[in-house]
């Protein structure tokens, strides 16, 4: 493939070369993004990511989740467009997770890092695409981070690849900023999502969750207090909305990091959120100066970090190529997608917390206490009607998660329809779904007159989802 190479320019001349050149901002971004910085921060992120990913995989084995979530269920809730993604049969699913564990180890060691990251990203995303009921924000983050890391150079520092190809110790600054932006998106959207009436005015759902920990020593009785729920709610929103700014500002960064660690350790203790807190603590270190790991190591070794012979700053030489321009545009496109996707719920009528249209992939973390009760009324061709319960078709986790999510309620109706169709019975399926959201009185979620067997699955707004009655 022929590559068109454009003449190199000095950074302070970029905007002076040709005012009519529409590529000026792109070239400017490319040049700025290519500035070399110490690679140790990105290397640390890669190692920490590998460790957290490995722990996540080990937990799947330890808790028996591979069988429980992927092998045992009779049905899986597929994502629209990904119906072709199916779980492997029993031994292969375990082998798949075993392979992911090995890939995570390879990522830690930096062995064939790019290939390992690509395979891990594909393999882990495949797992996540099998069943919507297993969706977790932090698994989504793992997939995104793996994909992002796969495009970065990892043969620069602290990897077996670097040892083989020669240790440069430098990486383009975009690698650091790409990770920072990815983390910033999580915090900012999590913060924006908290700016709602329930969270701010009612302190819900923390008002219901915190008293569950009233038995803890010393702080326990405090957690039973309503004002503490308000304090936690407001502080949580303020934390999510501002922590990125505090972490970016050098003077506030050390204190902000202490707050961040305390925040995540507390949430890790109070809620069942798996590896998420530890992942965010480790990931947030990327906000420190890119050379922080090398500085710390040097301090530990009691030597000057600059004395490291391998960290000689390379000469900046950036060429204006079409590939570079396309890469910048793709990066901007990915960023735009990551901003639009969490906001897509605005295209649907009603409250996202109630109808959950656009809820996933939106960084809406620990935001909702929602419990539902679902029964299906099945009517056959002879006009006989009876009730079917979701538990007859689904695993316990699926049956629990589907009760509040309209797309899963529809999919279960289709499982029932298909079950009877298999025996030659054409049935209609209607649902009686009662949901309580953030402590509100229970209300119907689905129009009980609608034959869900005839409704199509998809991303279009669901007209049969009832809007909540105002209090």
């Amino acid at each position: 493939m022929a590559i068109t190479t454009l003449p190199a320019v000095r950074p302070n001349r970029v905007f002076r070369t040709d005012p009519t050149d529409l590529w000026r901002p792109v070239d400017f971004l490319h040049r700025r993004a290519s500035e070399p910085v110490d690679a140790s921060s990105v290397a640390f992120f890669r190692i920490a990511f590998g460790v957290v990913a490995l722990i996540a995989i080990v937990r799947f084995f330890a808790y028996g989740w591979i069988d429980q979530l992927y092998v045992d269920p009779l049905h899986h809730f597929s994502y629209v467009g990904f119906e072709w993604v199916r779980a492997w049969p029993a031994p292969w699913m375990h082998l798949h997770f075993g392979a992911l564990g090995l890939l995570a180890a390879a990522i830690i060691l930096g062995w064939r890092t790019r290939a390992s990251l690509i395979l891990f990203a594909v393999g882990f995303t495949y797992i996540e695409l099998i069943d919507k009921t297993t969706y977790l924000n932090h698994y989504y983050f793992i997939s995104l981070a793996a994909l992002l890391l796969a495009f970065m150079p990892h043969d620069r520092a602290w990897s077996l690849d670097a040892r083989r190809s020669g240790w440069s110790g430098w990486t383009p600054i975009w690698t650091v900023w790409a990770l920072r932006v990815q983390i910033a998106l999580v915090y900012c959207f999590a913060g924006f999502a908290k700016l709602n009436h329930d969270w701010i005015v009612n302190a819900a759902p923390l008002r219901f969750w915190l008293p569950q920990h009233a038995h803890l020593p010393i702080v326990g009785p405090l957690l039973d207090e309503t004002w503490v729920a308000y304090a936690f709610s407001w502080a949580g929103a303020a934390f999510d909305l501002t922590i990125v700014a505090w972490m970016l500002w050098g003077r506030s960064r050390p204190l902000a990091f202490v707050v961040l660690v305390v925040f995540h350790l507390i949430t890790g203790q109070l809620f069942m959120i798996g590896v998420f807190p530890y992942m965010m603590i480790a990931a947030s270190l990327v906000f420190f100066s890119p050379d922080w790991p090398r500085r710390w190591l040097s301090r530990l070794r009691r030597q000057s970090w600059s004395a490291d012979a391998r960290v000689v700053r390379p000469t900046l030489s950036v060429e204006r190529s079409w590939i570079a321009r396309i890469a910048v545009l793709i990066a901007l496109g990915v960023l735009a997608v990551q901003i639009v996707v969490p906001l897509r719920h605005y295209f649907y009528p009603g409250s996202v917390q109630w109808n959950e249209e656009g809820y996933r992939f939106s960084w809406r973390v620990l935001l909702t206490e929602k419990v539902g009760h679902v029964e299906y009324r099945v009517t056959d061709e002879e006009g006989r009607t009876w009730i079917e319960l979701p538990a007859e078709y689904l695993s316990p986790l699926q049956a629990e998660r589907m009760t509040t999510q309209p797309d899963l309620i529809l999919a279960t109706a289709h499982f029932i329809r298909d079950h009877y169709a298999h025996f030659g019975n054409d049935v209609e399926v209607r649902a009686d779904v009662f949901v309580s959201l953030n402590g509100r009185p229970v209300q119907r979620l689905i129009d009980p007159t609608i034959n869900l067997a005839a409704e199509a699955q998809g991303i279009a707004a669901k007209s049969w989802v009832l809007q909540p009655v105002a209090e």
């Binding site: 977790l136 219901f208 798996g274 973390v365 009760h373 309580s436």
Partner: protein, 365 residues
């Protein structure tokens, strides 16, 4: 450094911090809120243990009445044994809202309460030369023992039980006494465990103390399952609501016709744990702290369900008779039970953060 910390402003800041923390802890200490531990302890002491004791005593009384009947069968003694069965069965039904802990660990339901029974196997057993309590406990199947098997023999058509006993049918008498003895022993064992180690653990003391969250989860979870069992798997199936064809045989009711009382007692058992005693605590106290409206809705739903069942008692019909003569009324009663189940399974579960499905999966949304 030390000198800097000793400045007046530092001392003031430290003092202010200590005062703030102290005030917060004092506020927390003075809180009048009812805790989950208070509820678990109160329900253990004032509801669960007394109810298990009552069930143990009435089943012991039933055992004694059956023994007297078998030793010297008369019509009066048969009637007394039947009354004792009704009372013991009623007390056992009331315990269904607290069937966790020893009852499940000792597999007591398979010794005491199994439906449907296998009448053929029961009659085959009567052909044995001797039947002991040990035989019933160790070698009989669950569908050959328990209250329902005893009901089948004790309330056999007309006075056939009396006829057989008076005719010297030893196996019949031995089976009756063995069944009553196994029931009485099993419930006594559960009652003793609740009065002893398990009750202590459930109240949060002792080496095996159960966390207050788990205790409250059990107190909510079992009533959810109970309402689901009664509403969907029994009344729902019997009425043809949860299956295409009605099937009244799923109603655990034999010749004694105690189905209505069973239902009422089961619901009252749920009410026991929800409301608690007049001077004690119940789940209601925890719910009301978070939402008085939700608490009132739950109380009302339970009252309406109990009222609907109580209304059947005035007719004096068995549940199976009612299913034939007045299925609409039974359907309405089922709807009332389902309404209570939905509030329990959504609002109460949500407010208390109870996990119904025993899920240990992570969740971050």
């Amino acid at each position: 450094m030390a000198r800097r910390l000793n400045t007046p402003s530092c001392r003031f800041t430290a003092l202010l911090s200590l005062m703030t923390i102290g005030a917060a802890l004092l506020l927390a200490g003075c809180s009048s809120d009812v805790t989950r531990r208070d509820v678990a302890t109160s329900l253990t002491e004032q509801v669960i243990i007394p109810r298990y004791e009552a069930a143990a005593e009435s089943s012991a009384a039933m055992n004694e009445r059956v023994r007297i009947l078998v030793s010297d069968p008369t019509a009066g003694r048969l009637e007394a044994a039947r009354d004792a069965w009704r009372e013991a069965r009623s007390d056992w039904s009331r315990l269904q809202a607290y069937t966790f802990g020893p009852v499940m660990e000792l597999r007591i339901p398979s010794l005491v309460d199994w439906w449907p029974i296998d009448e053929d196997k029961i009659h085959e057993a009567l052909a044995r030369p001797t039947i002991s309590a040990e035989d019933v406990r160790e070698t009989f199947a669950a569908d050959q023992r328990g209250f329902s098997a005893l009901e089948h023999l004790l309330f056999a058509d007309g006075d056939s039980a009396l006829d057989r006993l008076q005719a010297g049918d030893d196996a019949y008498g031995q089976y009756l006494t063995a069944l009553a003895e196994v029931i009485a022993d099993a419930i006594r064992q559960a009652a003793d465990d609740w009065s002893g180690d398990y009750g202590q653990a459930f109240s949060g003391s002792g080496d095996r103390a159960i966390s207050e969250n788990l205790a409250v989860a059990d107190l909510v979870r079992v009533p959810v399952f109970l309402t689901e069992t009664v509403g969907d798997m029994q009344l729902g199936v019997a009425l043809g609501i949860t299956k295409p064809e009605a099937d009244p045989s799923v109603i655990p009711e034999g010749n004694a016709g105690a189905g209505v009382d069973n239902l009422e007692q089961q619901l009252r058992g749920i009410q026991d744990t929800y409301v608690g005693t007049a001077d004690g605590r119940g789940i209601s106290d925890l719910v009301a702290q978070l939402s008085e409206d939700a608490d009132q809705r739950m109380r009302n739903a339970l009252n309406e369900a109990i009222d609907a069942i109580e209304a059947f008692k005035r007719d004096g019909q068995s549940l199976n008779q009612l299913l034939e003569t007045d299925p609409d009324a039974v359907s309405e009663a089922r709807a009332a039970i389902k309404a209570a189940q939905i509030i329990l399974n959504t609002e109460v579960v949500s407010l208390l953060g109870v996990t119904i499905g025993f899920s240990d999966n992570d969740g971050d949304s």
